[in-house]
């Protein structure tokens, strides 16, 4: 760019010279054609010759000048090719070199460059004028003084835009599409897969098309929303406000409050969105205890990171726990039935009818490359199967991750994640004592998975699932069948914005009082794309 400017500058006087010389040349050239009428004298010809000669000399001199300048530029070999942003002032390096002959010092390497560093930093630098050589400043790379940032006080964030793709915006927006092609030996895949965003039928599935928004609300709050569209097995679109909440950013004492519709911070997997999962489907224990859509609801949450030398956080939330997203709690169930009881579906009578969700998590670094995160969670509330029937779920989770100290793109890594849950469910007499028996179910389950990112973009995974449902001679609900599952998968992430995954599941459903044993094989081909500015994911 600079070269072009300089060459233009060099050519400009040349053109001017031609323009000035042109009129006499033009008037002389017609001369031969009119020679009969006005024969030129020998003196005229000589004068013309001299004129032409001097013009030629001028042109030669100018050509030489242009050549010299080009050579000087080549020597300096600056921004021309390197694609520096356009910069009107002449290259400081070229300047240093052209200045050098007049000075006594030989041409040296510049130590300033105003094309990269602003002039405001220069005064501090000017204390060392001795260097006539390599520039030590460069305004082409440093544009403005660092002190300019301090002028934007906290109040400026009121109008501070969020950057998307180099532009300025007030929020990040993204669209995530998650699809699966499924085959299963079972004709009722929707009964085998326990998650609402899992493949639900043989053939193509579009269970999670998600719009995500996030950004700073003002200096005090951040806002998040996840709106999910899913296509049911008849291709009808269902809309789900999966999450929509605000949270504080500037409370003292490491406190944070959150309010709105959000996923409960129960265990590792529940608070995350399906597209971040390492498998194509929900672990059995999550789907059967916390619910097909996970435990989430309208509520409020406070969290506190303890002032300890390691990461330690206490989280406490309360949600309505009503409906299918409060699955084991105030859930009226499909067609008003849950675990065979006619449900009560009533308004909250008091605090005991809300779901209370505490969590305590701690993390340690075993080494520079190994991290452990362990947590315990609980969810306590009432359920709709009787007048005073209650549910308690306890969880423990462990994450171990190793990542190479020479990781490229986050690979290679090994990640081991396990969650264990125990549920105590008091199944009552149903609405108006319509069910003859009250039972207390002690159910438990766990999953454990290992992911190995063996090569940039490639992850192999294996997962084991088990759920023990207490057998009952009174309740024949399909969800009350003890079962286990083995899954293996291979995922290719072309970039962090797309993935293709092949997964194989083998399910074993155990015989109980009402249901016979079953064995099911399933294969899923899952694919995903992300458009836009999707928020970075937590550890």
């Amino acid at each position: 760019m600079k070269k072009i400017i300089l060459v233009t500058l060099a050519i400009f006087p040349l053109a001017t010279v031609f323009a000035q010389q042109a009129p006499p040349a033009a008037s002389s050239s017609p001369a031969p054609t009119v020679s009969n009428a006005m024969p030129a004298t020998a003196a005229d010809v000589d004068a013309l010759r001299q004129q032409v000669q001097s013009l030629t000399d001028t042109v030669k001199a100018l050509q030489q000048q242009v050549k010299d300048q080009q050579a000087a530029l080549e020597k300096a070999n600056l921004a021309g090719e390197s694609g520096l942003p356009q910069n009107p002032e002449p290259s400081p390096i070229a300047g240093a070199e052209s200045a050098a002959p007049s000075g006594s010092a030989p041409p040296q390497f510049p130590t300033e460059d105003t094309s990269v560093v602003s002039s405001t930093t220069a005064p501090a630098v000017s204390g060392t004028p001795a260097l006539g050589g390599f520039p030590t400043t460069d305004t082409s790379v440093v544009t403005s003084g660092p002190e300019t940032i301090s002028s934007t006080g906290a109040g400026a964030s009121l109008t501070q835009p969020i950057t998307i793709g180099g532009g300025k915006n007030y929020m990040n927006i993204s669209l995530d599409g998650l699809f699966a092609l499924a085959y299963s030996s079972a004709r009722d895949l929707d009964n085998i897969e326990v998650g609402d965003h899992d493949p639900q039928q043989r053939g193509f599935n579009a269970r999670n098309i998600e719009l995500a928004f996030d950004g700073a609300v003002d200096p005090y709050f951040e806002g998040f929303a996840n709106i999910v569209f899913k296509l049911d097995n008849d291709n009808e679109t269902e809309v789900e406000v999966e999450e929509a909440f605000m949270q504080t950013t500037s409370l003292p004492f490491n406190l944070q409050l959150k309010a709105g519709q959000f996923f409960a911070a129960f265990g590792r997997l529940n608070p995350t969105h399906p597209h971040t999962w390492d498998f194509a489907d929900t672990p059995l224990v999550n789907g059967l205890f916390l619910g097909p859509d996970g435990l989430r609801g309208v509520g409020a949450q406070g969290s506190w990171t303890l002032p300890l030398p390691w990461y330690s956080q206490l989280i406490f939330a309360s949600q309505n726990g009503r409906g299918s997203t409060g699955f084991s709690f105030r859930n009226p169930g499909d067609d008003g039935m849950f675990f065979d009881r006619i449900t009560t579906d009533r308004e909250a009578r008091g605090l005991q009818d809300f779901v209370w969700i505490p969590r305590f998590e701690n993390s340690f670094n075993l080494s520079d490359t190994q991290t452990v995160l362990a947590g315990v969670s609980g969810a306590f509330g009432s359920n709709e199967t009787g007048a005073d029937s209650r549910t308690q779920i306890y969880g423990a989770d462990l994450l171990y991750k190793w990542k190479s100290s020479h990781a490229e793109g986050g690979f290679p890594f090994v990640k081991w994640q396990t969650e264990f849950m125990y549920r105590r469910f008091q199944a009552g007499h149903g609405a108006d004592d319509s069910f003859p028996v009250a039972e207390t179910f002690h159910d438990w389950g766990l999953y454990s998975q290992v992911l190995w990112g063996f090569k940039k973009g490639w992850v192999a995974g294996i997962r084991g699932d088990y759920v023990h449902m207490q057998d009952s001679e009174f309740t024949d609900d399909l969800d009350r069948q003890s079962r286990w599952r083995i899954s293996a998968n291979l995922t290719w992430y072309p970039t962090e914005f797309s993935k293709i995954r092949l997964q194989y599941n083998q399910d074993f459903l155990e015989r109980n009082f009402f249901l016979s044993a079953r064995e099911v094989e399933s294969v899923f081909l899952q694919w995903e794309f992300i458009l836009g500015s999707h928020g970075a994911h937590k550890f």
């Binding site: 180099g166 532009g167 390691w310």
Partner: protein
């Protein structure tokens, strides 16, 4: 301090039958209460990347507690947001980050969790290195079809010593604003660093002069600032697009280009697949040169000057 705290914990719980138990618990409570006070004796500085960390060390010396989040040998685009980083950020008086979206994949959730108003953008406790730097290769059109493109421009700028000086000055200003008692110390350290770089630039410039104008192949487009400073052309990459792994067809093209232009060196960083570079090198007779953007990424480069020393001498030797 950490050990002191641990010993208190152990003392408090190891012998519950002890009649001094309650007294020890009080001690523990006192220790907990004192934690922030003890911590505030020195500036707590967190640098996202090791290059900013090295500059902070030049300026802060023993007057700061420094934590560097990313390792010098790992890919700075993908660093795990480890929970321990939340603790470091929560306790930070100063956060030095690039400000050019290099840490976009991992810093935002950490900051969200850290809940530390002192290091918000706009506060003196937040030094963004790219502030005042004119970034190169700002895309006019941002599309992910072009690979991992940084919308604000190429964020690998610290390897230009002139830019490093500006960042160091920026850091010195930030430290001085938060710790005025030691402002003279920080300023003197900056002056020292600046003088060292100015002197070293003569040396580096002289070493690179004979190889000026040469073309060099790099694995990833991390080197436009280095190339600009020393008059090199580092514009052919083993990655077909930033962040996209090398494909056989692209490598064939690179090999043809390298042969045509007689390119003598391929630079790779510690986290790149060296075998791919070796293959291309053996097909073209070029040398593989190990490079790093970060002090500590190459053996014997624990300071910024030592890093550039190593880069300059390695490349000059390979291009001879």
């Amino acid at each position: 301090m950490k050990n002191y705290f641990r010993s208190q914990v152990v003392a408090g719980i190891a012998d519950p039958g002890n009649r001094h138990h309650r007294c020890r618990l009080q001690l523990l409570a006192a220790a907990l209460a004192l934690l922030p006070l003890v911590a505030s004796a020195k500036l707590n500085v967190v640098a996202t990347l090791p290059d900013f960390g090295a500059l902070a060390r030049e300026i802060g010396g023993d007057k700061i507690n420094l934590v560097v989040l990313a390792k010098p040998t790992e890919d700075p685009h993908f660093v795990d947001a480890r929970p321990s980083f939340v603790v470091s950020l929560r306790n930070a008086d100063v956060l030095i980050d690039g400000g050019a979206e290099l840490e976009l994949g991992w810093l935002p959730p950490l900051l969200q969790n850290a809940r530390n108003p002192k290091i918000e953008i706009g506060k003196p406790g937040r030094a963004q290195a790219s502030q005042g730097i004119r970034l190169m290769n700002v895309p006019t059109n941002v599309t992910r079809a072009a690979g991992d493109v940084h919308a604000l421009g190429n964020p690998h700028f610290t390897v230009d010593p002139i830019i490093a000086k500006a960042i160091a000055q920026h850091i010195a200003q930030s430290f001085s604003a938060l710790d005025p008692a030691n402002a003279a110390f920080y300023d003197a350290n900056y002056k020292k660093f600046e003088a060292a770089i100015n002197a070293k630039l003569q040396e580096w410039g002289a070493t690179m002069l004979p190889v000026k104008g040469q073309h060099v192949v790099a694995y990833h487009d991390s080197w436009p600032y280095f190339a600009h400073r020393f008059g090199l052309n580092i514009d052919i990459f083993l990655e077909p697009k930033p962040g996209i792994p090398p494909s056989p067809s692209h490598l064939t093209e690179v090999i043809a280009q390298m042969r045509a232009q007689h390119i003598k060196a391929i630079i790779v960083e510690p986290f790149h697949d060296r075998r791919i570079a070796e293959k291309v090198a053996s097909a073209t007779g070029a040398k593989v040169v190990e490079f790093s953007q970060f002090p500590g990424g190459l053996p014997g480069t624990d300071s910024y000057v030592k890093l550039i020393d190593a880069l300059v001498s390695r490349l000059a030797a390979a291009l001879k």
